[in-house]
């Protein structure tokens, strides 16, 4: 598969404070040919995004130090990271996620519990979008 060749490897930054969740996402994404960066809090995640310029950032809504909304706002405000798509990963059922995408700047959202096929489809779509 093309994606598995080192050159074409896309890098995804996943920010979540739940280590088990991080391990599983990392395993799933790496098995599908992505390079994965991880951070357990918002500040580290933001720093990593600026330094490493990943192709996609996935953030959990509720994480320590900077929450997912704030990470997205700052990435969109910074011209060096504004083009990176940011996806929201959340367990919330009560928030209007379509509205959040519009107002905060997320490119997509994924609700927990998720299906792996659904996760991969969203990622593929965001990475191939112009």
């Amino acid at each position: 598969m093309d994606l598995k060749t080192a050159k074409a490897k896309k890098t995804i930054l996943f920010v979540d404070d739940e280590p088990d969740q991080v391990l599983l996402i990392q395993t799933r994404l790496e098995a599908n040919g992505y390079a994965v960066l991880t951070a357990a809090d918002g500040e580290t995640g933001l720093q990593l995004a600026i330094e490493r310029q990943p192709d996609l950032v996935i953030v959990d809504l509720l994480i320590p130090r900077l929450d997912g909304l704030e990470i997205c706002r700052r990435l969109k405000r910074d011209p060096t990271t504004a083009r990176i798509p940011v996806a929201l990963f959340t367990a919330s059922a009560t928030r209007d996620l379509d509205e959040l995408c519009k107002t905060v700047g997320f490119s997509a959202y994924l609700r927990k519990p998720y299906d792996a096929a659904e996760l991969l489809a969203i990622i593929q779509k965001l990475l191939t979008a112009p």
């Binding site: 969740q21 996402i25 395993t27 367990a91 059922a93 009560t94 927990k112 792996a116």
Partner: protein, 596 residues
């Protein structure tokens, strides 16, 4: 306490005699009273005579007495003391005193202490005495009733206050004084009275019948309800300590929040872990392992559905689910909702039949929610059916409703379980092992909630081993039904808010402007109310109906006048009806507006 009811004067049937206890030491005076009372035929008097206070008290203790006639000056008691002792012996019995010219002051004092009346000896005739006795009995009864009613606020464990328009307390019950001892000292600065004049002013103007506020005083939370009393120009306020209830509500909200958020993360991780092994990400898996892991993942999916259903039901119960109503093609909706079940029906060799009469079948409802209703019921029917099939039918029924039916030839429900079918977490019978989603135990409770949100009703019939049929009604789409549905919504809201609601029926004469033009003109007239919640104009067979929340008759008349001016093409007439003054149901309000 209260003496037995006894009509003061008879009509056709003679009333039982009035039992008089006469306490009088002078035999001449006593005879006079006895003779005078014996002359009365209707009512009859039955006189018992005691010539000493002690004998009188003994008689009171022994016999039932309707009224006491007593001299104040007796050999064994004098003056006010005589009255007080008789009264203490039988506080519920009315007492009329007989006095000489010289001790009228004593008699007046006795009246202040609760005696019903007094007579000055020598000026007594039969008619007067009979009337005084009957009035004394009646007045005593009225007093007893009043003091019984007064005991309602007085003995109420919750604080009750009456406040005038300036915010001054005109009454407070004992519970107020024990729970808020600092009220008199703080007066208007006390939280209970803070902003009271403003709240009462708003009540006067907005035509709401009551308003409620929440107060935190010290460590307690109170709900304070204000009722404005028009005639008296005061507000009564009822205060209730709701600290415990609020704590329980908070716990419930927190719980739902925990369910929605905290349960999903571990669920998500567990499910993905199972999936990764199942998908072979971590190496080859045997057929047996696949089977077990699939069971585990199915149960994880079920848990996710239960969590979602719990959230749905708690939203429904809290009245936080709103409907996006529209004209819905029910036939298409049913076909769409059932199409998804066809592969499973084929797999289980079940028939899946949709029976809908030819011609349009439209309802007024929320398409997404109606799909959910059919999906729940058909899914349920499929699950409990192994032979035969499932039939989904809909047809027009009486009075502008559509009756829908989802019938299966499955397991059926035992008669004793039928009343519990719509309860939460009630599952009867095990679904067959062959595939299908695992139940949440909440589907039918949600289905019932959604049907009722559409103002429909749902019921179930079933015979064990033969099958189950759910029947439910939905409002058919028609001008009349759209009107009825919104009116029902508005009445429910007004009832919940303790607010008024006025309905205006605008009649457009035959040959008048087109309905659309009338609606435009009405919308124009309502423009200055635009954005106000609860103002809604709807087409009606007569022309239009305007719903005005929180509006009384006078307010509705003003709006009607504006509408009359706005429709320039012809002279429209209007009739109104106001909730709750004239009627309490949607149907009655509309009937009143139409009847006038």
């Amino acid at each position: 306490m209260t003496p037995p009811p006894r009509p003061p004067s008879g009509g056709a049937a003679p009333s039982p005699p009035i039992r008089v206890l006469l306490i009088e030491d002078d035999p001449g005076d006593a005879d006079l009273v006895k003779i005078v009372l014996a002359e009365s035929a209707n009512p009859k008097f039955q006189v018992t005579w005691a010539d000493r206070l002690k004998a009188g008290l003994d008689a009171l203790a022994r016999n039932s007495t309707d009224v006491v006639l007593s001299d104040l000056g007796l050999p064994d008691s004098r003056g006010i003391e005589t009255f007080l002792r008789v009264h203490a012996q039988a506080p519920a019995v009315p007492i009329v005193l007989m006095t000489g010219f010289d001790d009228e002051t004593f008699a007046l004092e006795a009246v202040r202490h609760g005696a019903q009346d007094y007579l000055v000896k020598g000026s007594v005739d039969g008619k007067l005495l009979s009337r005084v006795i009957r009035y004394a009995i009646e007045r005593k009864r009225a007093e007893e009733e009043l003091s019984r009613l007064a005991s309602f606020p007085e003995l109420n464990p919750n604080p009750i206050l009456e406040v005038d328009l300036a915010g001054q307390v005109t009454y407070s019950n004992p519970a107020t004084r024990t729970q808020f001892p600092d009220l008199p000292a703080l007066a208007a600065r006390h939280p209970l009275l803070a902003d009271a004049p403003a709240i009462i002013g708003q009540l006067q103007q907005s035509h709401r019948l009551s308003s409620m506020r929440e107060l935190t005083i010290g460590s307690r939370i109170y709900e304070q309800q204000f009722y404005y009393v028009q005639g008296d120009r005061v507000a009564r306020t009822y205060v209730q300590d709701v600290t415990e209830r609020k704590q329980v509500e908070q716990m419930k909200d927190d719980f739902v929040g925990t369910v929605s958020h905290e349960l999903r993360t571990p669920l998500s991780i567990t499910r993905e872990g199972i999936s990764q092994v199942l998908d072979g990400l971590l190496g080859p898996v045997s057929e047996r392992q696949v089977q077990i892991l699939q069971i585990a993942r199915n149960q994880m999916d079920r848990l996710a559905r239960i969590i979602n259903a719990l959230l749905d039901i708690s939203k429904l119960e809290a009245g936080r689910v709103g409907l996006q109503r529209a004209r819905v093609d029910l036939a298409a909706l049913i076909r769409q909702a059932t199409a998804g079940f066809e592969p499973r029906a084929a797999e289980k060799r079940l028939t899946l039949t949709v029976t809908i009469p030819p011609g349009p079948l439209e309802v007024y409802g929320d398409a997404d929610k109606l799909v959910e209703v059919f999906t729940n019921l058909v899914g349920n029917a499929m699950k409990f059916t192994t032979r035969g099939g499932v039939e989904i039918a809909a047809a027009p029924a009486a009075a502008g409703w559509v009756e829908c039916r989802v019938a299966d030839t499955g397991l059926g429900i035992a008669a004793e379980n039928l009343p519990k079918v719509f309860n939460r977490f009630q599952q009867f019978g095990r679904p067959d092992a062959a595939g299908g989603e695992l139940g949440t135990g909440l589907g039918l409770a949600i289905t019932k909630g959604l049907v009722e949100l559409h103002h429909g009703t749902i019921r179930v019939e079933s015979r064990l081993g033969q099958g189950t049929t759910f029947f439910f009604t939905l409002p058919a789409y028609s001008v009349e039904m759209v009107l009825a549905v919104h009116l029902k919504d508005a009445v429910q809201k007004a009832a919940m808010d303790h607010a008024r609601l006025s309905v205006l029926l605008i009649r457009v004469p035959a040959g008048g402007p087109a309905p659309a033009a009338v609606m435009d003109a009405i919308q124009g007239a309502l423009r200055d109310r635009a954005g106000r919640a609860g103002v809604l104009a709807l087409p009606a067979p007569e022309g239009a109906v305007v719903l005005l929340a929180e509006t009384d008759r006078a307010g509705a008349a003003k709006v009607a006048a504006q509408i009359e001016q706005a429709v320039v093409e012809c002279a429209v007439s209007w009739r109104g009806a106001t909730y709750p003054d004239e009627a309490r149901t949607a149907e009655e309000l509309l009937a009143i507006a139409r009847a006038r």
